[in-house]
């Protein structure tokens, strides 16, 4: 027996829409069995994971807050991945963006008088830092032909250790008993809340605005066209006036900038100070989100919301049903695997054929 994959002449739109639903159903089914084995009603678990978080204003805000950085980073990454450039170091670009932008927040702590410039400067510095950090793998790739997959991944750890060092050392709050965190930012260095007493802050608007902008760039501009065709045909992109080098720099700049912006939005929004870790793995999760969303901004938005939902549902399940966190993680992994696998249905005609290896048609 072997699996025979025959590419479809064009993606089947029906199956493309249906396959994630099937994958989701499959993951829920397997997850349900696991939950039942742990002695919890699968129906109750389903409600807690996927329905309850959508039924309260507060948890809806939390879903949006969690989804915003994921969608923003993943949209940036989509530019890279469409152009066959494998930036997997968004986590590092996120951290560097948060660190550099946060540094501004620390340095301007206690400023008086006109302070409206502080927040925009933080966002700008964070974004630019993300761009600059992404330029390292881009430069190494263009000038020296070094694999960007590996350099961007290695730079993640360097960024994390740099933040750890800065938060424990030079940027530590001098009045904070040597504890590893910076001063809490002033109000002028924080992203404002959208409504008093709520958790949603302006960073979410920035993130979703950036996703909308990226959609426009991707679908309506020559550069967007070049990005879309370069994966399939590098020559077509060159005809459109984008050399490999230019494309590499542009795609890395966009993804690095998006990750850096997401980083500083998280620091100036939710966290409000610098601390040794600022990301629960957003940069890596965003890679999965990018693929779940099939590298298109609307798809990415949906994927980010689903991932955010499972995370928040997982917390509810810990509280209400005493289901272990590890179960949520295993379920997330399973869901992602199934969605990635099910995509094959949209791209190929799949058949199980008896017999040995496929004979070459050359």
């Amino acid at each position: 027996m072997r699996l025979d994959l025959r590419p479809r002449s064009r993606r089947s739109p029906l199956l493309a829409a249906l396959s994630p639903v099937l994958a989701f159903a499959g993951a829920v089914f397997i997850g349900g069995i696991a939950v039942a084995l742990l002695g919890v009603s699968p129906a109750a678990a389903f409600l807690t994971y996927f329905v309850t978080p959508l039924s309260e204003v507060w948890s809806l805000q939390e879903v949006a807050l969690k989804a915003a950085p994921l969608a923003l980073i993943a949209t940036g990454l989509a530019f890279c991945y469409r152009a066959n450039l494998w930036n997997i170091g968004a986590e590092g670009q996120f951290v560097v963006g948060g660190l550099a932008g946060g540094w501004v927040g620390v340095a301007t702590h206690g400023s008086e008088g006109f302070t409206l410039w502080i927040l925009p400067l933080m966002l700008l510095v964070g974004t630019l830092a993300g761009v600059a950090y992404a330029m390292i793998p881009a430069l190494l790739k263009v000038r020296l032909g070094v694999s960007e997959i590996l350099t961007s991944l290695m730079l993640v750890y360097v960024a994390e250790l740099l933040l750890d060092y800065m938060a424990r050392g030079p940027l530590r709050d001098p009045a904070g008993y040597n504890f590893p965190q910076s001063v809490a930012f002033d109000g002028a260095a924080r992203l404002p809340y959208l409504a008093e007493g709520e958790t949603l802050h302006a960073g979410v608007l920035i993130a979703f605005g950036a996703v909308a902008l990226a959609t426009l760039v991707l679908t309506r501009t020559l550069f967007g066209f070049a990005v879309r065709v370069v994966g399939a045909s590098p020559r077509a992109a060159r005809f459109a006036g984008f050399s490999d080098a230019r494309m590499t720099f542009a795609a890395f700049a966009i993804s690095g900038g998006a990750a850096g912006l997401a980083g500083i939005a998280e620091v100036a929004g939710r966290i409000g100070q610098l601390q040794p870790t600022i990301s629960p793995g957003y940069g890596f999760t965003a890679i999965i989100v990018a693929f779940l969303g099939r590298l298109s901004p609307p798809g990415i938005l949906v994927a980010a919301l689903v991932i955010a939902l499972t995370t928040i549902g997982g917390e509810a399940a810990q509280i209400d049903l005493k289901l272990p966190l590890d179960l949520t993680r295993a379920f997330q992994g399973l869901l992602l695997g199934l969605v990635l696998g099910a995509d094959v249905l949209a791209r190929f005609h799949v058949r199980l054929v008896p017999g040995g290896p496929a004979s070459p048609r050359a």
């Binding site: 494998w86 032909g145 694999s147 730079l155 750890d164 379920f331 992994g333 992602l336 791209r347």
Partner: protein, 308 residues
């Protein structure tokens, strides 16, 4: 420093390098076949949990090691099915595998927390193991260390001295051409992925059975990622992987020894060293052979479907 301290340091370096060598050797074979599996950390941590659980249940370290390797293999089979069988993206699938491995290991290990086992036995040959200065280093290690050495030799021999190894490397360099020649591209890749998974699982089992003989959640603490870096650092060559692992393990261990001896250095800078070293190695390698192009298997990370 006396001879004994030198030996002691070297023994520590070797045991720190062992899990890196085992895991990296598996990943090297998978990458040589053209498959990039970023799920090493996930397979490793599951191997640690299952390996410890099996060893406790059966009372046998050997069965534990086999169980750990089996767990890594099972998880990698899933990865192989997705990426080789269904042509799913390797980067995303590998990351999904890591999340899943962390979750599953927590579930599998939950009832084994707080238990301890005797560490895996060390070789003892009368006279030889007691030789001053070198006895413990050469003749007094545990079985995992010798397995790691055997893996290095075996993988080198396989990749460069056998027909199957040549096929595997050819497939990693150009799947379209090798497929046209009638070579079983997907079968070879799937087997290479399985080998990588078994090695990662075994490396995890080493941690929970020999290195620090107990199970604790996330006890791999990033060693899977270091193993990934190592393969690249070593430019996909087994002997260099071993050398690199000794260097990586050595940096950490020597840093700790230096501190114990009263020479301090900022911890974060030293922890960042392996990653920076890897980037520098990549740069130097490509500078060294500007004409020859990259050393990486040319088809690394690209999905393949027959009939393309």
């Amino acid at each position: 420093m006396s001879l004994d301290i030198v030996q002691m340091v070297l023994v520590t370096v070797v045991s720190a390098a062992t899990p890196l060598i085992i895991a990296a050797m598996g990943e090297l074979v998978a990458e040589r076949a053209g498959v990039l599996n970023l799920g090493v950390e996930g397979m490793m941590v599951l191997g640690a949990a299952v390996g410890f659980a099996v060893a406790v249940e059966t009372g046998s370290t050997l069965l534990g090691a086999v169980g750990g390797a089996g767990a890594g293999l099972a998880l990698s089979a899933l990865f192989g099915l997705l990426t080789v069988g269904l042509a799913a993206n390797q980067v995303a699938s590998g990351l999904a595998l890591t999340i899943m491995g962390l979750g599953l290991s927590g579930l599998a290990g939950a009832s084994y927390v707080g238990l301890k086992r005797e560490p895996a036995p060390h070789l003892h040959i009368p006279v030889l193991s007691d030789l001053p200065g070198v006895g413990r280093l050469l003749f007094g290690a545990d079985a995992f260390v010798y397995v790691a050495l055997a893996l290095v030799a075996g993988v080198s021999w396989f990749l460069w001295r056998t027909r199957a190894g040549l096929t595997l490397r050819a497939i990693g360099d150009d799947h379209t051409a090798t497929h046209a020649l009638g070579l079983p591209v997907r079968k070879v890749r799937f087997l290479a992925v399985l080998f990588g998974g078994a090695c990662a699982g075994l490396a995890g089992a080493y941690l929970s059975l020999a290195y620090t003989p107990f199970w604790a959640p996330a006890m791999t603490a990033g060693r899977g990622w270091i193993a990934l870096a190592l393969v690249v650092f070593a430019s996909w060559r087994p002997l260099r992987v071993a050398a690199g692992a000794l260097l990586f393990g050595g940096t950490t261990v020597l840093q700790l020894h230096a501190q114990a001896a009263g020479l301090g250095l900022p911890g974060q800078a030293l922890s960042a060293l392996p990653y920076i070293a890897t980037i520098l190695a990549l740069v130097l390698l490509s500078l060294g052979r500007r004409q020859g192009g990259s050393l990486a298997p040319a088809a690394l990370g690209r999905d393949f479907t027959p009939h393309r």
